[in-house]
Each structure stands twice: as C-alpha cells, then as structure tokens.
Symmetry: C2
Subunit: 239 residues, 2 copies
C-alpha cells in the first residue's frame, strides 16, 4: 500500500464507533420495568432507528425546518411508545430514555483503536448526531476525540456534500488529507465523491445477527479493516 497523505480521520459514529442497538435496547427494557411492563427492547431500538433516515430526509427536502437529532429522536419515540405498551412513561422518563442515544456503548475495539490513531492523526466525529449528543457520548464512552464535527455544525445531514466539505475546510486540509471511517458504504461513497479518502470497517451485527447490508465493501475504498485495532495497524505501520 502506498502511504496516503492523510492527516485527519473523521468517523461516522452510530454503528461505526458505538453499538446503538444493544445499548438502546437495554435502556428501553430498564425504562419498561419502571412501569411494570415487559417489552421487546431490540424491536423498539430497531423501529426507533428505522425512523432516523426518513426524518433526516424530511429535513433535507425542506418539509421540516432544521431539526437536531435529539428532537427527531424524541418525536419518533413518542410516536412509537404506544405500540410497545410504553405510553405510560411520563415526561421525565421519556426525556431520560431519549438521551439513551447519548449513552451508547462503544464496540470492544473502538476506544483502544482511537487512542492509538490519535497519536498520529487528528481524530474527529463526522456524525449526524448533534453536538451535545456527541460530547456526552464521548464522556460516557471515553472516546478521545480531538474535534467534534456534527451535521449541526453545517446545518446539513450526511450525505449532503456540505458535511464532508465542511470538515475538510474547518481543518484547513485538502479533502484527500481527510479520511472518513465508516461502516456504511453509502456514507463512504458520498465522501469519496467529495475527494475524501475512505476506510470501511464493517460492523456485522450493527443491525443484529440477521444483518444483510454493509457486510462487504461495495466501492473502491482506500482501506478495509475488520476493526479499529486493525485499522490502526494498517495506518500506523502500513501492514
């Protein structure tokens, strides 16, 4: 591999760095128990996540004004709770559960891999999560970011070009000096179209054991690695 002139790595977060599905499911189950209900936390997590892309698309199409993910999450949660026998959760419980997205747990290799990569590269988020969510998550999960880039920073959601362009511009780097690390082929394709370098780290159970998408690279990505430790090996030692 010829060395890339990469100086900064920006990371997709939901699914790539943290395991939203089991983290959210655990908090759903805990919330349900407080009102004496048994529910399927994984199913609610999947349904909640399922509302995510359509909600951002409504913002992108101008059908909704600019709205941060915390508020999109909350609207989706309120709509979903009755279907899961959780309409009895009060305002405080709903607000707390909505912030489960601020308390997602990292994949086992995430923190160690990021710590190693941070020694050589600027490392940052490039996430559709809002700034407060990403900052609180970093405290919770000990993610050692140098910089938080959020859709909120650019008032546009990935895959809008303004997000990829904006991260490179604020770092005062050429697009090719910035590498997007993501578990999602569509995110990498959009970044590559803007000139960013790309690293694919598949997360084979992000959507559960029956996951069917993003199991394999679907583009000509600069690096493919099974986890962040291997990504660090490749980028730091070229092996």
């Amino acid at each position: 591999m010829t060395p890339l002139p990469v100086k900064a790595l920006v990371f997709d977060v939901f699914g790539t760095v943290v395991d939203w599905r089991t983290s959210v499911a655990r908090e759903v189950a805990a919330a349900a128990r407080t009102i004496g209900v048994e529910t399927d936390g994984l199913a609610l997590a999947d349904a909640w996540r399922g509302e995510y892309a359509p909600a951002m698309q409504r913002v992108a199409r101008g059908e909704l004004p600019w709205t941060v993910i915390d508020d999109l999450h909350r609207a989706a949660l309120d709509a979903l709770l009755p279907r899961f026998d959780l309409a009895g959760l009060d305002e405080a419980a709903r607000a707390h559960l909505n912030r489960a997205w601020h308390r997602l747990n990292p994949w086992p290799d995430s923190v160690a891999g990021l710590a190693r990569l941070k020694r050589r590269f600027v490392i940052g988020t490039l996430s559709n999560g809002n700034v407060a969510l990403l900052v609180n998550m970093a405290k919770h999960a000990a993610l050692p970011w140098d910089v938080i880039f959020s859709a909120e920073s650019f008032r546009a959601y990935k895959p809008d070009p303004r997000t990829y362009d904006g991260a490179a511009s604020m770092l005062r780097l050429e697009p090719g000096e910035v590498m997007l690390v993501a578990a999602h082929n569509n995110d990498l394709a959009a970044a590559q179209a803007r000139g960013l370098a790309t690293a694919f780290v598949p997360r084979l159970t992000e959507y559960g054991p029956a996951q069917e998408k993003d199991l394999h690279p679907e583009g000509d990505w600069d690096v493919v690695a099974p986890d962040f430790e291997t990504l660090a090996d490749t980028l730091l030692h070229g092996s």
Copy 2:
C-alpha cells in the same frame, strides 16, 4: 459559596490557557536566525497581537468578508515583517511562522487544571481562533478539550452574542449552566450579559511584565481564581 448549576466550562484560549507572547516571540527569533537576522521577537509578537482586535472589528463591521484568524494573522504578519527586518522570509517560512499560533505553549497550571475539571465538567474552547488552529494547538499542548467552539463555528467573533449563545445552544444547556473562564474582563462582561456564569483567571504577564490591564476583576464574576488549579479546587470542592 452556593454551588452553581454549571455543567460545562468554556474557555477563552489566547492569554487565558496559553502564553501567546513568549511562544510567538521564540518562533520569531528562530525564523529570524534562519536568514541571519537579529530582531526583537517580543516586540513583533506584541505588534502582531495588536493587529488582532482591529482586524476582527473590520470583519464585524462588514468591511471584510468572513475571514478566519489564520488569514487575519497572515495579512498582519506580511505587513509587519519589513519593520522587523524580516522581509527576506520566503513563503514557506512565513507560512510556518504564521502557524506559530497553532503551537502556543500553555501556562504551567493549564493542563493539570483542565484535566481535573474535565472529570466533572464538559470542557471546551470558546475562542476567536479558528477550528484548525485550536485543534492543532490542543495536540501540541496536550489540552484535553471535550469540544472545540470557535468563532468559526458561529461565523462571528467574540464579543458577538452569537458566540456565547451558540455554545450554550449546541450543548443544549441553559446559559447559566455554562461558565466562561477568561483572563479578560470584557469577554466575561459580554458572556454575563448573555446569562453565562463567569470565572476570572487573571494572567498578569500575558502582555509582558509591564501589563496594566486585566490585573483585577472589574465585574461581579462568579469565581475569581489565580490559576486553573485553584479554579478546580473551587469548582470541585467549593473551597
């Protein structure tokens, strides 16, 4: 002292966290030596810094389009070099010297104080420095920020209210839950006017041994501390 409901601390950076004057002077002297010139590095540092507020004011008044500090610094540097017998510095040397502002050294108490404060609070910058400058400085000086807020994030320079409001809004906190830490009374006054809590940490030699301003608190600040270690004592233990 009754405990403040503060959840996040945002810091002025130039002068408050880092000692720009001696850091820049040292790099000026080194650059001068490369072309066989002896010059007064401290005088150039002072003159360079002196161009800072007027340049930002030209942006604020709309006489200049939005321009980041890196570019304001560079224009000021090019204008100043002949007066200091440094017109012979070539493009590469000027670009490197301009980035001296990315390599400023912290005051002796800064890193230890921030590390302690980070355990309890979200800690971030709220600086007129641009994002790349602040990120590179954090790497250089081991400043453990949770989040980088820059004038660039809001396309407005302090003391514009959008900067203080924007930091609180992006953290999804009430203004009173955010404390500005600064060595400058005027910055604190502007923050207090927007509802932020305030901590004054005077830096008595920021402008050199003959400094005459910002030696004492000139407002009703919530906390006054002589350094970041004492600030941590006060905010963590109420002593």
